[in-house]
Every structure is written in structure tokens, then in C-alpha cells.
Subunit: 190 residues, 2 copies
């Protein structure tokens, strides 16, 4: 039983995904980890601490991701394509915590909730700036940037939901198809 702490986080992410944060009890989590409920608290401070870690780890991941993409010398088209691929990759590789990150963050309590929303707004601003640039350069259709962004961000959110953990050989194909569809919806038609 090496690294119990991480084991707890992983099983919690699975449970939070399966039943939601609120419907998951610490007693249930304890069973999955193979401990008594009280023993969990030798490793973690609270239930919400688990949620916090999952949410902020994911937030950081996406912010680092978009910053790396943004500082490369790429066209707006290439940047958006890279961002879409980032979302697909994370959703497939770590679908449990992606679900939690997407759907359970609202159960964070203040002040962590505001902190999380601030990070998300930061990410969205970067995203929108790239879209605006693409429109200005005539590469993208002239649509409201926030509409484009929300539509793109939403459209990949079924993956983590439908995807089962484990390797799937059809992943590269899936990625290609989604990217093709979304990008040709975004780019100007000639």
C-alpha cells in the first residue's frame, strides 16, 4: 500500500465522477481505499480538500497548456487547433478528474470558489484573445468571440463523460474527426 494519499485522491475522483461530490460519502470513500472512515483523516484534512486539489490541479494544467501554446509562433488557426487537442487529450487521459473539474467545482466554498473562478476567467480571456486575433486576420468567421469560445469549449465536454478509463486505439481518429469538424466550423469558407 504505497502512497495512500494519492490512492485516496484517485478513488475520490472516481467516486465524484460516478455519483457527484455531494452524493459521495467519506464512509464510501473509506471502503474503496480499504480504510475506516476516521483513518482517512490521517492523510487528508477534509473532504473539500480533495475537491480543491482536483479542481486546482486541472485549472493549472489548462492554464499552463494555453500559455505554452500561446507563446509559440503559431497562427491563430494553429493555436485554436492546439487548444482543442489539449482539451481532448486531457479528457481522455484523465477523464475522472476532468469530470470533477468540469462539474463539481461549484461545491467549493469561499474563498476558494472565487479563486477558482478567477483562474477560469483568466483562461477564457486568453482563449478569447486568440479568437479575436483570428477574426481580425480574416482566418475565422466574424462571430462573437465569446459565442465561439463557449461553443468550442462545450463541444468537447462529452468526451470525458463517455470515455472509459484505459487505452482506446480509436483515440487519434476521434481527435482528428472532432478537430476537423470544429475547425471547419470556425474558419472562413472559401
Amino acid at each position: 500500500m504505497k502512497n495512500r494519499k494519492q490512492h485516496i485522491y484517485e478513488e475520490a475522483a472516481i467516486l465524484f465522477r460516478e455519483k457527484g461530490y455531494m452524493a459521495t460519502s467519506m464512509r464510501e470513500l473509506a471502503v474503496r481505499v480499504g480504510l475506516e472512515p476516521s483513518s482517512l483523516y490521517s492523510h487528508i484534512k477534509s473532504k473539500e480538500e480533495i475537491l480543491r486539489k482536483i479542481c486546482f490541479d486541472n485549472a493549472r494544467r489548462f492554464i499552463v497548456g494555453i500559455e505554452e501554446i500561446d507563446q509559440n509562433f503559431l497562427t491563430p488557426t494553429q493555436k485554436i487547433e492546439a487548444i482543442i487537442n489539449l482539451h481532448i487529450e486531457v479528457a481522455i487521459e484523465d477523464c475522472t478528474s476532468t469530470t470533477v473539474f468540469n462539474d463539481e467545482w461549484r461545491h467549493l466554498s469561499e474563498p476558494k470558489l472565487s479563486e477558482f473562478l478567477k483562474l477560469r476567467r483568466l483562461y477564457e480571456e486568453k482563449f478569447k484573445r486568440i479568437i479575436t486575433e483570428g477574426i481580425a486576420k480574416g482566418q475565422f468567421k466574424n462571430l462573437k468571440p465569446s459565442t465561439v469560445m463557449y461553443t468550442l469549449l462545450s463541444s468537447v465536454r462529452w468526451i470525458h463523460y463517455w470515455h472509459r478509463p484505459g487505452k482506446d486505439p480509436r483515440m487519434p481518429e476521434l481527435k482528428k474527426e472532432i478537430t476537423l469538424m470544429l475547425m471547419s466550423g470556425l474558419k472562413v469558407s472559401h
Copy 2:
């Protein structure tokens, strides 16, 4: 205070949307309705009954909607466009119950849960059949129908989340932009 029952359903939908089904207590709902907790049970049988009504009313609405669209003499392109518009309209017109329908159905208990999932599968089959037809007729890109469907269904799901109840004059524009973006991602490029 006419029609208390409906008032309860409406306030419940708002609360379920705000905090989620699990995080909403009957005592909280009672405050919103202006009753004591126990008095709620003069009108409803249980908390889950409320969730059931919201989920199945919405399911029916979409199934009726897609059937009406499907039996008209329309091209696959026109049908998918109509379905996308249906989703956008419902999301804007009744964003509270749409949120519940989308995110809280999993808290239904058996056998209602299976019943709900059966309805959803029915809807998805109809949806996929139209996509398959569109591909066969050379109107749509040759992509996996389920990938197309999930991407389309997901991509409109930010609306009910972001939209605030009440009339919004920018709605027709929003609808046009989303439809344009999604349809040009779906259709073959010439």
C-alpha cells in the same frame, strides 16, 4: 398564491440549477415557496418526484420535437439545423429545467433512471439516423455519426448554463451564429 404545486416545481428547478439536486434541501425549498417544510408534502409526494417531473417533461419535449422535425419533408441538412435550433430555443426559454434535465437526471433512482436512459437512447438513435442519412446523401462530412451527434449535442450545452432567465434581444443573433458555425462544421466543404 394560486397553483402552489407549480410554484414548488418552479422554485425547485431554480434551486436544483443553482446548487444541484443533492445540495438542495427541502427546508431551503420551503423557504423559497413560503411554506414550512412539512407543508410541501401536502402538494408533492417526495423530493425525487420533483426531479422526475422535470426530467421526463423535458425528455418528452425533445422526443416530440425531433419526431415532428423528422416526419416533415426536409433534407438531412434542414433537419439537423432544426434540431440544433430546438435545443437552443429550449435552453433559452426554459434554462432552469434544461440544466436539471442535463445534469441532475443521474440522481433518479431505479427504475425511473433506466426509463429515462431508454428515452434518451431513443432520441439519440433518431438523431444518429438523420446524420447517417446526411452522410449517405453526400451532404455531411464522412465522420462517425455518434461523434458528430455528441459534439453537436454538447456544443449547445453552455447556453442554458450561461443564459439568465428573461428576454434577451440578442437571442436571434446568437441562434444564427451558433447554427452557422455548427452546420458549416458538419456540411461537406465545396
